[in-house]
């Protein structure tokens, strides 16, 4: 896979189930299979995009990497340390190294605190800044994310969504992290602001040698920022490849459908053999047997209903992994 760079995060066999409703009383507790046996690596300095429909488990993966929740099974190594086995106090020692930015900018900042307090308190607590230079540090952070110094004494409600997202980024960066988990950071922003935030993230990455996990459902944004992309469907990764490779040469019918579903500005390029997904996403409480995509897959075979498809190397020279062994051969037949 990514042999050239050492991985900063290794996820192995990650599973996270949530109980359905408040089912203390019901005998057989039903579970949402939010993330079901997912493994991948993130190389230092890269941006791993995670895409998928709502409810496919992409944000859950983000929360597990951030150690905000404990997985039901599986391990997550951060820089060689298994964070799933750490106690809360052990975790506190390394938490500053991975930070998160959120989708909902309304709830990501305490409405009763000024920007200065929001940014300064964690730095002072972790002794990243001293009482003497903390003001300078906060101003430097604001400058870095493109906000005026006068923002210091304002409250979150005085900012627009894009500006609040910038503050969120500044807060995440204030602790000098190495890994940034971006949970749909631009999904709630309008398009022009999305581009600004994405450009800001890209330039910050170069400046500070950051590693990103970029979770999103808009393919455009994910493609723009990611070096590698993982496609998720119903709690599983169905395909993972370099961004360019994934878009030009999708190997999984679901990936192909996703790529086809994103609008193409140039009308001359539009006419292609498009896959249109039909039907609803099945319930993650009772996921389909075998390949989870088979009820909606136009190429589904009898075998797909029985065998749980594993990620396999598509071609030995690349790092392209795909969970569907049939699609490529199907395509060849059609042509």
């Amino acid at each position: 896979m990514t042999n050239n760079k050492k991985p900063i995060v290794v996820v192995e066999g990650l599973r996270k189930y949530y109980p359905v409703g408040n089912s203390n009383t019901s005998r057989a507790r039903q579970m949402v299979h939010a993330v079901d046996d997912v493994s991948f690596e993130i190389a230092e300095g890269e941006t791993l995009g995670i895409v998928g429909e709502s409810g496919c488990g992409k944000s859950t993966i983000g929360r597990q990497i951030m150690a905000l929740e404990r997985p039901n099974a599986g391990k997550i190594w951060y820089d060689g340390q298994d964070i799933t086995a750490m106690s809360e106090s052990q975790l506190r020692g390394i938490r500053t190294e991975f930070q998160m930015i959120f989708q909902d900018t309304n709830s990501s900042l305490n409405p009763r605190k000024q920007i200065y307090d929001i940014l300064a308190t964690p730095m002072l607590y972790h002794k990243i800044a001293t009482k003497e230079n903390v003001k300078q540090e906060v101003e430097r952070l604001l400058d870095m994310v493109g906000l005026a110094k006068s923002s210091l004494n304002k409250f979150p409600h005085e900012f627009s969504g894009g500006q609040r997202q910038r503050i969120g980024i500044a807060r995440a960066l204030s602790l000098k992290p190495r890994l940034l988990v971006c949970d749909e950071p631009v999904s709630a922003l309008d398009v022009s602001v999305q581009a600004q935030i994405l450009n800001l993230l890209t330039s910050l990455q170069e400046e500070m040698n950051l590693t990103y996990v970029f979770i999103g459902h808009g393919l455009g944004a994910v493609r723009y920022i990611s070096t590698r992309i993982a496609v998720m469907y119903l709690g599983k990764i169905v395909e993972i490849a370099d961004a360019k490779d994934l878009f030009e040469n999708p190997q999984h019918p679901y990936t192909k459908a996703l790529v086809d579903a994103s609008p193409i500005p140039d009308p001359n390029l539009r006419d292609r053999s498009r896959i249109v997904i039909s039907g609803e996403i099945p319930s993650p409480v009772n996921p389909p047997s075998g390949c989870r995509y088979h009820p909606r897959c136009p190429y589904a075979k009898e075998e797909c209903k029985k065998v749980d498809m594993e990620l396999q190397v598509v071609d030995s020279s690349s790092s392209h992994l795909c969970a569907c062994p049939f699609y490529a051969t199907n395509l060849a037949k059609e042509e």
């Binding site: 905000l68 500053t96 998160m100 959120f102 305490n110 009763r112 929001i118 308190t121 607590y125 972790h126």
Partner: protein
């Protein structure tokens, strides 16, 4: 100073409620009168200073009671006692409620279950009966009634705070704090608590009003503040007799009206505060 902008907005929204502004002014005047009772009361409230049950006159503006004490002086002192009982009971119950609510919502699990079951228990007790029994077991008096009311009124506050904590706990800024490795005490006291204070404040005004009513009810029944100390409730106690009720209005109308006005204006202020403090408006 930090919240200057915020305070101004809240004040402005509060001012829109004319009734609440009038109520607030009335309350402030009453509180000042109560505090200044020893200075402005024309007579010693517990000393006989005129004839028995005399109607209002220039000497005794609100007349005298059955044993010749000046009613105006007694009313001023009574208000002092009633407001004090209401305020002290509110402070006690709010403190208990906030602490238990914070613990319950923040720690969760077994602690949450235990605290909430106790809350349900206290809530499901017949209120006035509990207070009567408690008043009978402990010696009735000023402090016992403060404590009794304080220990009875907290479940509402606890539930309110717990609900707030549960919703604030899911906010992204709390997740950001956890991700930043901030300590629990910071999250609890610096992030969660300030965000629950506004609704608690509003709720406390209701508790204040209810406490004044409860004190009046208890004292009326003779289980509250004990004579000769005057309270709005035990002044009303004199109205138990039919002759007083029908022909000696000055013995009970002022105290009754005062209770009604105090409770109504506290509730108006509370309603306006709720609107003014609601950030979604």
């Amino acid at each position: 100073m930090e919240h200057k902008g915020n305070m101004q907005r809240v004040t402005k929204r509060f001012m829109k409620h004319k009734l609440a502004v009038v109520s607030l002014i009335f309350l402030l005047i009453m509180i000042i009168l109560a505090i200044l009772a020893p200075v402005i009361a024309p007579y010693n409230p517990n000393q006989v200073s005129g004839g028995f049950s005399k109607p209002p006159s220039m000497d005794h503006l609100l007349g005298t009671d059955q044993i010749g004490r000046d009613m105006l002086s007694r009313l001023l002192y009574a208000m002092r006692i009633s407001l004090f009982v209401g305020a002290a009971a509110t402070v006690i119950s709010t403190l208990i409620g906030v602490i238990l609510g914070l613990l319950s919502g923040f720690i969760g699990g077994v602690v949450d279950s235990i605290i909430m079951r106790i809350t349900d228990m206290v809530m499901s007790f017949p209120y006035i009966l509990l207070v009567l029994v408690a008043a009978a077991v402990f010696e009735p008096g000023l402090w016992s009634i403060v404590l009794i009311l304080g220990f009875v009124d907290w479940p509402g506050v606890a539930r309110l705070v717990r609900g707030n904590v549960l919703s604030i706990r899911e906010m992204n800024y709390i997740k950001a704090d956890i991700a930043a490795g901030m300590p629990k005490r910071f999250i609890l006291f610096s992030e969660i608590l300030p965000n629950t204070i506004a609704p608690v404040f509003v709720y406390a005004t209701q508790v204040f009003a209810i406490s004044i009513l409860d004190e009046a009810a208890l004292s009326f029944l003779g289980m509250g503040v004990q004579p000769p100390t005057a309270s709005l409730g035990n002044i009303l106690n004199g109205a138990e007799s039919i002759t007083v009720l029908t022909s000696k209005f000055w013995l009970w109308v002022p105290a009754g009206v005062l209770i009604v006005l105090l409770v109504i204006s506290i509730n108006f202020v509370g309603d306006a505060l709720r609107d003014a403090l609601d950030p979604s408006v």
